[in-house]
Amino acid sequence: MNFYPILKKEIRSYFTSLIAYIILTVFLILSGHFFYTGLVQFVTWGGASMQEGLWQYLFHDIRQVLLFTIPLLTMRLFAEEKKLGTIELLFTYPYRDIEILMGKFLACVVMLLVMLVLTLLYPVLIAIVYQVEVGPLAASYLGMFLIGSAFISCGIMVSSLTENQIVAALVTYGFILIFWFVDWNEAAASPVLAEVLHHFSFFEHFYNFARGIIDTKDVVYFVLFIFFFLFLTLKSLESRQWRGIR
């Protein structure tokens, strides 16, 4: 697997185009706001467990911020190269399609990790004055990493289908929101269908992680989701071999 040059190029591009700084700033201001207000609430009302009373809400909120920021990171990955035409050169360098895909996917995953690592500041701040349980927190971080990577795999797939970055971001929002809300209105579906949809919901599978629990079925759900969308992206890249495009 020779994807490192692409990984490096993409990360450099995030930082030279300033998009990384802008997204990190917005992300940190919002998550900082949620941390502060959550903390005030927890201190005011108290609660038996910090995981239930503080972290759970914080991670739900951060997940929301990820929802808004990640499509803005993924939208350019293929759409921009298609628009610039650079994809033609990239495809004629000695890469296999999967190497190009992995380079771009992992670049975005690195950005996600940077975002998540920066939020570690909050538990660290608490740990200075109060005891923090590391186990459940680690579970929550795993959950955020998985759901973030799922957003990325979805976004990269959409980006490979268009050369318009705005379209790429919008359609990614659409996909994520559908997987989010798919089981919210149980009255609109038959009981069987509602039960099935239940298992497709992002919301449902993130819930345990936010509470500090790792359930294999949730992990499997996200991993399968990621693999499925990466597979679709690969097929979309390969489509240039049989589609009638010039």
């Binding site: 020779n2 490192y4 040059p5 692409i6 490096k8 190029k9 450099r12 591009s13 030279t16 185009s17 610039l84 035409g85 650079t86 994809i87 033609e88 050169l89 990239l90 495809f91 004629t92 360098y93 000695p94 890469y95 296999r96 240039r240 071999q241 009638g244 495009i245 010039r246």
Partner: protein
């Protein structure tokens, strides 16, 4: 070095190329000529493994494009027509990325980049953003990225399009300087370019190859008559009439006045006949003042049109 057999590519219903076969030997410079949309880019994209052909075979340096695309790509330097580059990268950084992509060993990367920049004359813009470069410089960066990794085969799609005349000359010289060690295929729809740079010309029209030869032989083959242009001071009508009377002359075309009293004539005559001495003696006997006399060569444009029309007639 490059062997292409019965290559066919359809875009859905639309024909890109049909039954294209040719071969290019090591170290040759081959020009791919044809109007826009004739299938030049399609052929090049197949050779660079951007997409596979619908039918047919293409081998580059012994590797089949559909079977071993990565091996083929390692041996090819490609510059697409639009010279797509990343505008937010510095030239040196970009070439560094290209070197990594082409798997140039780490220890050799720096010298490979330096060499390519030297050859293309872009050392002085190494630390500027690609997006801020002029068209000419971008074109050179495009050639430089193709050169990195020392590929055996260079494929350049319309390398001089959109450049000003001086830049065109520079790029042509650059391409010529690259010849010898490498096999080069370049496409163009500007014919003089091919006659200046290429040893062999492949003329392609509507997806099919219509002629393969050296520019000189193509000209000889297709020239059925020769032409000489004369500029003479005197009465135009009388001169034209007198010229027509020379044996062997097929046609005399008045090209209009060049300056007051001076008129230009194009004299077309049978190929085997050498009539210049005859022309001169007529001029001196008639006491006309000869301003200019030159033999007109058939341009590649003429050849191209001829080849294409002959093709349509048969």
């Amino acid at each position: 070095m490059i062997e292409v057999e019965h290559l066919t590519k359809y875009y859905g219903e639309i024909r890109g190329i049909e039954d294209v076969s040719f071969s290019v030997g090591k170290g040759e410079i081959v020009g791919f000529l044809g109007p826009n949309g004739s299938g030049k880019t399609t052929t090049m994209r197949i050779l660079t493994c951007f997409f596979p052909p619908t039918r047919g075979k293409a081998r580059v340096a012994g590797y089949e494009v559909t079977q071993n695309p990565v091996e083929v790509r390692k041996r090819i330097g490609y510059m697409p027509e639009t010279v797509p580059l990343y505008p937010d990268m510095k030239v040196a950084t970009y070439l560094g990325f290209v070197a990594e992509s082409k798997r140039v060993e780490k220890s050799k990367r720096k010298s490979a980049i330096g060499e390519a920049m030297e050859q293309c004359g872009i050392v002085d813009v190494a630390h500027r953003l690609v997006g801020n470069l002029s068209k000419g410089y971008r074109q050179r960066v495009g050639v430089a990225q193709a050169l990195i990794g020392n590929p055996e085969v260079l494929i350049l799609d319309e390398p001089t399009i959109g450049l000003d005349p001086q830049q065109v000359v520079e790029i042509r010289n650059l391409i010529k300087s690259l010849a010898g060690k490498r096999t080069i295929i370049l496409s163009t729809h500007i014919l003089p370019e091919a006659s200046v740079t290429c040893e062999k010309v492949i003329i392609i029209h509507q997806g099919r190859i219509v002629a393969v030869d050296t520019p000189q032989r193509l000209m000889e083959r297709l020239e059925k008559s020769s032409r000489t242009v004369l500029q003479i001071e005197g009465a135009a009508q009388e001169i034209a009439e007198r010229l027509r009377m020379i044996p062997g002359v097929i046609k005399v075309v008045e090209q209009g006045g060049v300056s007051p009293g001076v008129c230009s004539f194009e004299v077309e005559y049978e190929k085997e006949r050498e009539i210049s001495s005859e022309l001169l003696s007529v001029v001196s006997r008639s006491k006309w003042k000869l301003i200019e006399m030159r033999a007109e060569k058939m341009s590649l444009e003429d050849i191209f049109i001829k080849v294409v029309t002959e093709e349509q007639e048969t």
